[in-house]
Assembly symmetry: C2
Homo-oligomer: 443 residues x 2
Amino acid sequence: MQFLTSPIEKKTLEITDLSDPKLTQQEVCVTGAVHTIRDMGTVAFIILRKRDGLLQCVYEESEAQFSLKDVREADTVKAWGIPAASEKAPGGVEIRLKRITILSRAAAPLPIPIAKAKLNVSLETSLDLRPISLRNIRERARFRIQEGVVRGFREYLREQGFTEIHTPKIGARGAEGGANIFRLDYFHRPAVLAQSPQFYKQMMVGVFDRVFETAPVFRAEKHNTKRHLNEYTSLDLEMGYIDGFEDVMAMETGVLGRIMEILKRDYDRELSLLGITLPDVSRIPCVRFDEAKRLASEKYGRPIRSPYDLEPEEEALIGRYFQEEYGSDFVFVTHYPGKKRPFYAMDDPADPRYTLSFDCLYRGMEITTGGQRIHDYQMLLEKLERRGMSTEGMEHYLAAFRYGLPPHGGLGIGLERLTMQLVGDDNVRRTTLFPRDMSRLEP
Amino acid sequence: MQFLTSPIEKKTLEITDLSDPKLTQQEVCVTGAVHTIRDMGTVAFIILRKRDGLLQCVYEESEAQFSLKDVREADTVKAWGIPAASEKAPGGVEIRLKRITILSRAAAPLPIPIAKAKLNVSLETSLDLRPISLRNIRERARFRIQEGVVRGFREYLREQGFTEIHTPKIGARGAEGGANIFRLDYFHRPAVLAQSPQFYKQMMVGVFDRVFETAPVFRAEKHNTKRHLNEYTSLDLEMGYIDGFEDVMAMETGVLGRIMEILKRDYDRELSLLGITLPDVSRIPCVRFDEAKRLASEKYGRPIRSPYDLEPEEEALIGRYFQEEYGSDFVFVTHYPGKKRPFYAMDDPADPRYTLSFDCLYRGMEITTGGQRIHDYQMLLEKLERRGMSTEGMEHYLAAFRYGLPPHGGLGIGLERLTMQLVGDDNVRRTTLFPRDMSRLEP
């Protein structure tokens, strides 16, 4: 009988392995995709794309036991050679090639020049050719950064006593209500896709006190803007036994701190590739909604048009204000008017026209919405009634309150938007692997 | 201007904090849900449910500055008192109560006795009352175990050079084909929900070499069995530059090893609560599909009915065989017939009726499907043609191959099934927070 044990030890090396000085003069084996070939006449450079970067391989006819013509861009190969320190090589090491085996052949020349430092194609082309354009090392670096963001979110919350949950994306009704719901047929019954895990995470506060989820959400919004997606990854948390919604904002501050720590520690290569300077998140200013509007309007001379909502341009000005006045890329805007918040938002007892809620703006764009929720069963029923909303289909959600939920609050962070602002991109599609918008369902 | 910094220091303690011997004779503050009240006449026990377990609080009229009648089951409270070591208390510590504040009132007595050690209600009732039944500490413990499983999967793969990805769940077509696809209207265009991230993770091998995803998948299968869900969490990985599909099985062996390590280290409380003995996964037997069928049939006298597929009863017998003969709860069954595998499965060059694919059975139930994939563009086109399949709508997937993909393979693990087998449950709905089946869309 054959048995499988822990991963099979591989004799092929990654770039980080190659910096080991013991390897000099010793033949090594590497695998990779032929990113580009630069034929200089007497010598040629075959650049391999590996998961941890680009590896320069030097081809000299006198040394190599193969013909340069046998290797083409986009082939994947296994290559043997002698590593040598090289200041000009990316990563500081190169391989003097001896032998090569072609693992797979590209069937056609690449349709876009992915080996260029910057991929100079339109966003549409880049998205149409996504499996190829992502092979550009700057394009792919965005998604390593994104990985670090999610890691920081999870790691920090786990340390703070949160439990990770997985809630259903198909349901009988939407949590937030409204028109922006995708509908589907579920075995001949009407069903919807989750706009957020809101109801579920609140119910789970009654079980685990503190929960989080990192999962897709679906919004059928008819917005074709640079900041909207119809499917995105939401980083959600909900926490019980809070003393106020400041606890939720403080938790986000902690999360952001950990994210920056992890990025600095483990994603240095990607940060330098993209020229990213990490923001200072050790202290984040916090300003009331009406005050923020007033400050931005006064400083930049833009009249306040709608007293109930922040227009994108207003968000940008508030972001600019706190950057200029306090040197902060982030700002919490608090006490949003109840009119623009869902029924479950806790009204401010000091002035019930406002809610104990907040948005977090990053470089002038909303990346988080959160706040304290109503936890009292009667208060929730009264709010629903005041809004003229039916409790039909909400029985399970309401049961959690009927049988006791502690004071609680939470938030949702849009992963792609946070990544977009961190990377300094101008369109959220650039920080989405395979974006979904009103006109894009593929790839 | 107000600023937010890292999380606000709380003065309320968790159970693990209370074991600190320095706390004796010092008043402490705790929060929690009133799990149950046991009134013994001269003394009463108020058991608080907290995220890290149950906390016994002792009420004596002479000591406490409140009336026992003021506290009811399912209320959430903040309580002050003196901690004292107690052998009879769960966790070894109890609180002698002084004062209490009610944070929220339950509006009605609990509909099911959640404080019982075992929740003796039917599965249907438990699922109908999910936000309440999960408050039973054995019920919720399953989902802490589940958290540990996901952590192990991610942690191990990250160390092995994998990048986490987030792929879209709404698409223009299904990856696996077939009838079991949920369909929806996407801005007046037909769309489907992802049955798996198969196409995307393969495309991403061309970008990051090794990728994983932990996300929901959707299957409109008309199976109302104990092991099927219509929405579940799939733990997916895909890895390039493999030498064979043994690399993929070895990677799963490593993943399982890390999962057991993490569970042993961090989820001891839940393991003992549920009486779980962790399986040995240091070496997992590996047997060919036809050989596995023959061995089980011979030993247990069950004739082989279908040569192309494993019936559930046959899987159970194969599991039993490897448990009895080799003491292993796990077994890899390899070389499934091509007829029952999707088009992208790599045929076995030694006998093209079979594929270089595998299932992993755990206690006689399939928890993983995986294998090597075709990576050559021409070979893939030929296979599609042999199967009479159209390439329409597959252009983006095929482009990844046209422009070079390395030899690769991967797998998908059903999270709820793996948890079910680990916990020893008899229905996968028990290890799903809010299950979706043909008749259940709520809660």
